[in-house]
C-alpha cells in the first residue's frame, strides 16, 4: 500500500467561480462521515483519464469540521499535463471518484501569537480551511491576498463580507501590490507567516523575512508543484526487474504505478520526501524539480523524487 488511504466519493456539486477556477464538492459514496482534517491539508484526487490514471493533490478548502462534504477548487491550467483540464472538462455531478485521506504539509503552528497569511491567486485555497479552523478557536489572524483582478478574485467576496477587517485584497491590474516590508515591520513577537502562491511570491517573502531577521521556523510556505510534462524517457528497475517508458505527459511516479510497481508517495508535489528513490546508475542528466533533496544530493546523481522529477539521457537504473 502506498500513499494515503482512499475514500470513494461521488461528485455532489460543480460550481464555476470564474473564468479559470471551479469548485468541486464530494460526498462519501458509502454515506458515512468524512474524517475531519486540519487547515492546510490536501487530498489526492484520482482521475481516470482515457486509460491513464492521474493523481493530483488539491488543498481541501471546505470547513475542516464539516464531515458531510469535502471541497476543492481547481484552476484550469491550459499548459499543464491535463489534470486540471480533465477536472474542468470531464467531471460532472454524480460521477464516482476516489480521493485520499487528508494529508497536511502546510499546517498552522498553533503556538503562534498571530497568523499572518499571504496568498497569491489560487494559493488562497488552503487558507480558506485554515481561516475556518482559526475562527472556531478565536485565533488571531490576518490575510493579505493578491490576485490579478476582481473578475479572477476567487472567494474575494466571501472573504471580505465575512471578515471585512482581517482580509486585505490586492489587484495586480490596479497596480495595487502588497507592501511587504511595511507589513512585516512591527509584527508582534511570536507571529508566524504563511505563504501560498507562485514561486516568485514565496521566494520574495522568504527573502524579505530573512533580511529582516525573522526566524526560519516562523515562515511557512506551500508551493503548488504540478509535475511538468517533458521528453519521454526509459527507466530500468532493478528490484522489479522491468524496463518501463515514461511518457511525455506522465510523471515517473505515474509510470511506476501504471506498471504495478509499488512506489510510496504522499504529496506528489516534491515536498514530503516519501517517494525518494535511490539511483543505481545513469548516463544522462537529471531534471530535479522537487523541494526535498538538498542541492548536493541533487548534484550527486544518487537520488531522484519520481513524483515531479524527470530524466534526459541514455540510461537510468533505479532501486525499485
Amino acid at each position: 500500500m502506498s500513499g494515503a488511504e482512499k475514500i470513494n466519493v461521488t461528485v455532489s456539486a460543480v460550481v464555476p467561480l470564474n473564468e479559470l477556477v471551479t469548485r468541486f464538492e464530494f460526498k462519501r459514496t458509502d454515506g458515512a462521515l468524512f474524517p475531519t482534517f486540519s487547515g492546510g491539508a490536501h487530498t489526492v484526487v484520482e482521475m481516470k483519464d482515457d486509460g491513464l490514471t492521474r493523481l493530483n493533490p488539491y488543498s481541501l478548502m471546505s470547513d475542516p469540521q464539516d464531515q458531510q462534504t469535502y471541497a476543492i477548487s481547481v484552476r484550469r491550467d491550459d499548459e499543464g499535463r491535463g489534470g486540471s483540464l480533465f477536472m474542468h472538462n470531464n467531471v460532472k455531478v454524480g460521477d464516482a471518484m476516489v480521493v485520499s485521506n487528508p494529508v497536511n504539509l502546510f499546517s498552522l503552528d498553533l503556538r503562534a501569537k498571530k497568523h499572518l497569511m499571504i496568498a497569491g491567486g489560487i494559493g488562497i485555497t488552503p487558507f480558506m480551511a485554515q481561516i475556518k479552523q482559526l475562527d472556531r478557536a478565536h485565533g488571531n489572524w490576518e490575510l493579505h491576498y493578491a490576485t490579478r483582478n476582481a473578475a479572477l478574485g476567487t472567494y474575494v467576496d466571501e472573504l471580505t463580507s465575512t471578515h471585512p477587517n482581517d482580509v486585505h485584497i490586492y489587484y495586480d491590474d490596479d497596480k495595487n501590490f502588497i507592501d511587504l516590508e511595511n507589513l512585516l515591520d512591527g509584527q508582534p513577537l511570536g507571529t508566524h507567516i504563511y505563504v501560498c502562491g507562485p514561486k516568485g511570491m514565496i521566494d520574495w517573502v522568504r527573502g524579505k523575512t530573512a533580511e529582516l531577521g525573522w526566524p526560519l521556523e516562523s515562515v511557512h510556505y506551500e508551493e503548488f508543484l504540478a509535475p511538468q510534462p517533458g521528453k519521454p524517457f526509459e527507466v530500468k528497475l532493478s528490484i522489479s526487474n522491468k524496463t518501463i517508458q515514461v511518457g511525455e505527459n506522465e510523471s515517473l511516479l505515474e509510470a511506476l504505478e501504471r506498471e504495478g510497481v509499488d512506489a510510496p508517495y504522499l504529496c506528489r508535489g516534491g515536498a514530503c520526501g516519501q517517494c525518494e528513490t535511490s539511483v543505481i546508475g545513469y548516463d544522462g542528466k537529471f531534471l530535479h524539480m522537487d523541494h526535498w533533496l538538498e542541492d548536493d544530493e541533487k548534484a550527486s546523481g544518487t537520488k531522484i523524487m519520481p513524483c515531479v522529477s524527470r530524466f534526459e539521457g541514455k540510461t537510468l537504473v533505479l532501486d525499485r
Binding site: M1, A4, T36, F37, S38, V103, D109, C272, G273
Partner: protein, 354 residues
C-alpha cells in the same frame, strides 16, 4: 468473551497476576533468538483474534485496577499529566479517537452517543456516564486528554508536528520505564531519545522520525519495546526511583520466578485529524518469568536473548547487576532445541520442553 476485571494492586502487596488467557496473549517481544534496536515498525490494522493487536486500544483484565493505580499516581504527583496550551485541540482529537474506537470495538463495555457537539459517553467497567459538549473544556471535569486517558490503559505522549520534527508537548505518563514527562515535555524526537545508547549511531532515530512524520490519518502503526521490572510495579518513574530502586536488590534465586517481570510496551502511532498532531500510546504489559516459562518457545528464546544482549542495553535497561541471576534461572528452561520464527507461542508446533 466478556472480560473478568481483576481487583489487584501494582504496589505495596503486589496482588497483580495474569490469568492463563492473559499469558497466552502476552505480547512477547522477540521474533528471533537475539535482540538489537531496529526500526521495527508495522501497520496497526488489527491482528489475530484475541491478540493484543486485534483492537485499536486493547482492554484486558487489568483495566479497572490499572486505572485505579493511575488515579493514585496522579493524586501524588499531578505533574505526571501535562499539556502545553497549544495542545488542547489534539487532546480533543485523542478523546474522539479513543471514544469512537472503544465504543466500536467493545460495544458491550463502552457507548458513545453523538448529537452534533452534544456527546454522551458511557464507560461501564468504571461506572462513568457523562454528557458533555465536544470542544468545550468547561463541560468536562478534566482537560480532554486527561479525561479520556484516566479511562484508558497505557501512557500517552501527544506530539506536535512542526519544523520536520515531533515535539513532546503533552502527555500522561504513570506507567513509564524510568523517564520523566515533566522533564522531557517540550523536547523534540532526538532530545527525548538522547539517553538511549547505540541507536543514534545506528541512524535508527533519523529513519524512525521520517517514518513517523509521514504517518497518515487512518493508517496507524505500531512497534514493541521491552525492559525488565522487579515486582509488578507499573510506576517505575524517575520521580520515585529513590523509593523503588531498592526493590531491584530484593531478587533471590528462590523468588526470581515470581518477582522478575518482563515488561513489554505495545507502542502505537495515530495521526490526529484536527490538530495534525501524532499520538503515541505506550501500553505496558507485565508477565513474571514463571508466567513466561509456561510457553516452551518463550523460555528458550528469553534465555538466549538475555544471555547475548549487549552490555550497553542491559545497563540502560537497568538489569545488568541482576543478569547473572536471571541467566541461572532462565538456562533451566533452555534445552537447546530450535525455536520458530515470530513472536507467537506456537504451543502445538514448537517442540515440548525436555
Amino acid at each position: 468473551m466478556t472480560i473478568q476485571f481483576k481487583d489487584e494492586t501494582f504496589r505495596d502487596d503486589y496482588t497483580f497476576s495474569n490469568s492463563d488467557w492473559a499469558i497466552k496473549r502476552f505480547p512477547f517481544p522477540f521474533h528471533e533468538d537475539s535482540y538489537m534496536y531496529a526500526v521495527n515498525m508495522e501497520q496497526h490494522r488489527g491482528g489475530p483474534d484475541g491478540s493484543v493487536y486485534e483492537k485499536r486500544f486493547d482492554v484486558d483484565e487489568h483495566y479497572v485496577s490499572e486505572m485505579r493505580d493511575r488515579a493514585m499516581v496522579l493524586a501524588d504527583d499531578p505533574l505526571r499529566c501535562q499539556s502545553l496550551p497549544h495542545m488542547t485541540l489534539a487532546g480533543w482529537d485523542l478523546l474522539e479517537l479513543i471514544m469512537v474506537s472503544k465504543s466500536e470495538d467493545y460495544p458491550d463495555l463502552f457507548e458513545l452517543h453523538r448529537d452534533g457537539d452534544q456527546w454522551h459517553w458511557i464507560n461501564k467497567p468504571l461506572g462513568i456516564d457523562d454528557k458533555f459538549t465536544f470542544l468545550d473544556e468547561t463541560s468536562l471535569p478534566y482537560g480532554p486528554m486527561e479525561y479520556i486517558t484516566r479511562q484508558t490503559q497505557g501512557d500517552f505522549c501527544v506530539l506536535d508536528q512542526r519544523d520536520d520534527n515531533l515535539w513532546m508537548d503533552a502527555g500522561i505518563v504513570t506507567t513509564q520505564a524510568d523517564w520523566s514527562l515533566d522533564f522531557d515535555i517540550g523536547m523534540n524526537f532526538f532530545e527525548w531519545h538522547a539517553p538511549v545508547p547505540l541507536a543514534h549511531e545506528k541512524g535508527i532515530f533519523v529513519r524512525a522520525l521520517k517514518f513517523l512524520l509521514n504517518i497518515q490519518q487512518g493508517a496507524p502503526a505500531r512497534r514493541l519495546n521491552w525492559t525488565m521490572t522487579v515486582n509488578p510495579l507499573l510506576d517505575t518513574s524517575p520521580e520515585n526511583y529513590h523509593k523503588w530502586g531498592i526493590q531491584k536488590t530484593s531478587l533471590t534465586p528462590e523468588n526470581i520466578g515470581q518477582k522478575q517481570h518482563l515488561r513489554v510496551e505495545l507502542q502505537t502511532f495515530f495521526r490526529l485529524p484536527r490538530s495534525n498532531a501524532l499520538v503515541f500510546p505506550i501500553r505496558a504489559y507485565l508477565a513474571s518469568f514463571d508466567d513466561l516459562m509456561t510457553v516452551p518457545k518463550w523460555g528458550r528464546r528469553l534465555h538466549r536473548v538475555i544471555r547475548d544482549l549487549p552490555e550497553e542495553l542491559a545497563t540502560y535497561k537497568g538489569f545488568i547487576d541482576n543478569r547473572p541471576m536471571m541467566l541461572d534461572y532462565l538456562s533451566r528452561y533452555d534445552d537447546g532445541k530450535p525455536t520458530s520464527d515470530g513472536i507467537w507461542p506456537n504451543l502445538d508446533t514448537d517442540p515440548p520442553r525436555d
